[in-house]
Symmetry: C2
Amino acid sequence: MDGLTKIDDLGQPRVVIVGGGFGGLALAQSLANVPVQVVLIDKHNYHAFQPLLYQVATAGLAADNIVAPFRKALGKQKNFYFRLAEVQSIDATAQVVETTIGLLRYDYLVLATGATSNFFGDAVMEQNAVTLKSVSDALELRNTLLANFEQALQLGDREQLNSLLDFVIVGGGPTGVEMAGALSELRAHVFPQDYRELDLKQMDIHLVQSGPVLLKGMSAKASAQSLADLKAMGVEVWLDAKVKSYDGYTATLSTGQKLITRTLIWAAGVTGAPVAGLDPASMGPGKRYFVDEHNRVAGYENVFALGDIALMKTTAHPDGHPQVAQPALQQGRLLGRNIARLLGGELMQPFHYDDKGSMATIGRNRAVADVKFFGHEFHLSGLLAWLAWSLVHVLALVNYRSRIAVAFTWAWNYWSRDKGLRYIIGRIKPLLGGSVDTPAGKAIV
Amino acid sequence: MDGLTKIDDLGQPRVVIVGGGFGGLALAQSLANVPVQVVLIDKHNYHAFQPLLYQVATAGLAADNIVAPFRKALGKQKNFYFRLAEVQSIDATAQVVETTIGLLRYDYLVLATGATSNFFGDAVMEQNAVTLKSVSDALELRNTLLANFEQALQLGDREQLNSLLDFVIVGGGPTGVEMAGALSELRAHVFPQDYRELDLKQMDIHLVQSGPVLLKGMSAKASAQSLADLKAMGVEVWLDAKVKSYDGYTATLSTGQKLITRTLIWAAGVTGAPVAGLDPASMGPGKRYFVDEHNRVAGYENVFALGDIALMKTTAHPDGHPQVAQPALQQGRLLGRNIARLLGGELMQPFHYDDKGSMATIGRNRAVADVKFFGHEFHLSGLLAWLAWSLVHVLALVNYRSRIAVAFTWAWNYWSRDKGLRYIIGRIKPLLGGSVDTPAGKAIV
């Protein structure tokens, strides 16, 4: 589409932010009282709280509770403009981005496009696996999961049945561990009543991790505890194993083991989601832009990158910061102040990552946390870690309404041991690996 | 699909219920302690509370809060079986229904398939109008509504702009009146902040009613008050007018008036949704099955019909009962007891409709209610009617969780004058009546 985007010209410097994840949203908020026009472009009209997508997928939380429409979150900010569009390319010489709704001029461009699932070039795997990067992914996985069980009711053949009831999760990071735990809770507390007719001992949950430990990057204590917790909850953990291939029905591990499943959840690493048009020399490993300590993209004066898509090499983090919420949030907040400093003729301040630690939840009263506090690191597990995890995640949500709603839902689910949002609305991913045979011969009418 | 549905044979009489709306759900619950096997078949795995769909469509309520998965609502009921399927035909001689998952034998068959939008044979209208009969409809309308406004930001041409910002609602019953009121509230309280760049005086809401009054069937006082309220809220009400044609862009009224809109909401009457296979003589006007005072379909011993799909002619209701929740609920409850009586060799009890009155909400503190109480009828309006409407609808929800969630959301929305769920997830209905031109010439980059 040619033409120009229709947007007010305020006669102020225009900061165009591409992507409203943790970094982009924090930056937009940080620019609230700076004399610039803030234009946020995103392909969705809402910010999604990615760390809780697995709970949406497992019927524990409503999608509504973890999204915040940008126009609501930032609606009171007078210099804020939002456009629902995708950015297709950047022309840094003309200082223009090309979008699906036309061209848009910028004075400062900030790329906060985040990361996307990395299938390392395996197109067959990419086509057959499900991912957990967006709200639509989470809802589609919820629908698939529930539809599998509805379809399983009609099956007699043991292998066909297992293909629907068994789940393979690839990747032993927080998402993989939390997903495995949540599926195990459904198996223990929810499905036995919902699917009385099925033998739930047939439902296997496999977690495949390429390295020797789960939650790589957390403490050895956290890794060991998460493994012990998952095993206690009946999750089959495959360490030092990779999924070599998956055709929608059979997952073959590097160990030679074959797992039959129609639902393989890919949580095994991400790659940057760059925008076309910048100098290829600005792009580093993992498709992340090389940025300096001010998040400025290498080779550009007025183009910045934040969060997952930015590769800032520091002494403490020679391979860049972890691709999680905290670095993005902190970089977004600092960049807002730095743009104000730039406009005021002051020097920008360098970024220093304040690592507050990390945590993962596994199930009811089960979590692990490495908390950094005044230079000391504490390792929590069990109920205390679980409460800490819950509190941190509730407080991190974007608005009060979400916080109240999520806290209420968690309290309700905890008390009732229930996950009540198990309805199928909208698209069900078609059954992979061929259709399910009807069990005419074995049926009892 | 041939073959038989795989389901336990309990050696008890099997009651197959087709459709889990108000009537089907009430019947299933009513059979909890009756020595029968209850099999509920529905194309969704949840009960949807239809009277609040318009609030889902206007971002006031989450879909999650007005649906109840059948397996959760009835999971503790030992004789309850659910199958996610559609019934394709009935073979009353063999006592079998053909479904998308195979054949299913029944001893008693209860049709509770409800009603669907009636376009009176106008295929062009049907293709271009949006309806509000399902949760998917409501979410799609919400997406369309919000996407319209996002797209409108790029438009300069006045007619194109109005085609996106204007809404035409056809039908002045409760759904039409409530929808018009909810859109008016978005215009007054939510969109002015979200869409500062648009002139919201351009947003027109038209309500087209074929007869001389709104809320036909309610008291004259309620009709007059709802008209006055809607006018006060800036809704343009067209009485004694019909939409003769709609091509996705231009709606032509019977008065000759033309209204430009890409969003025409059809709330103008329903028709039964029967199942193939029964004797055509059993089918009455409006595609409703003739039933006797025990909801037994004319000409059949063990086939019943409930609610919207049933036409029970009585002295008080010579044209059948109104197609709303209460008759369906009451018939469902009674039929459960009557089936128990049949099995016990007792006589069935005839149905007597207990009309508790009717109500409709228009906006903040604005509602009308005709309440029947010990033979007296009271007419309420304003704040009192609005509180009564809210209380009745919260209590009518299927489970405690929904009641708490809806009450909390309404209290929050009331206090904040906000409707916070304005995100676009999933399918956006493509723009009707051709694409929107980009305003290249008029754009300011």
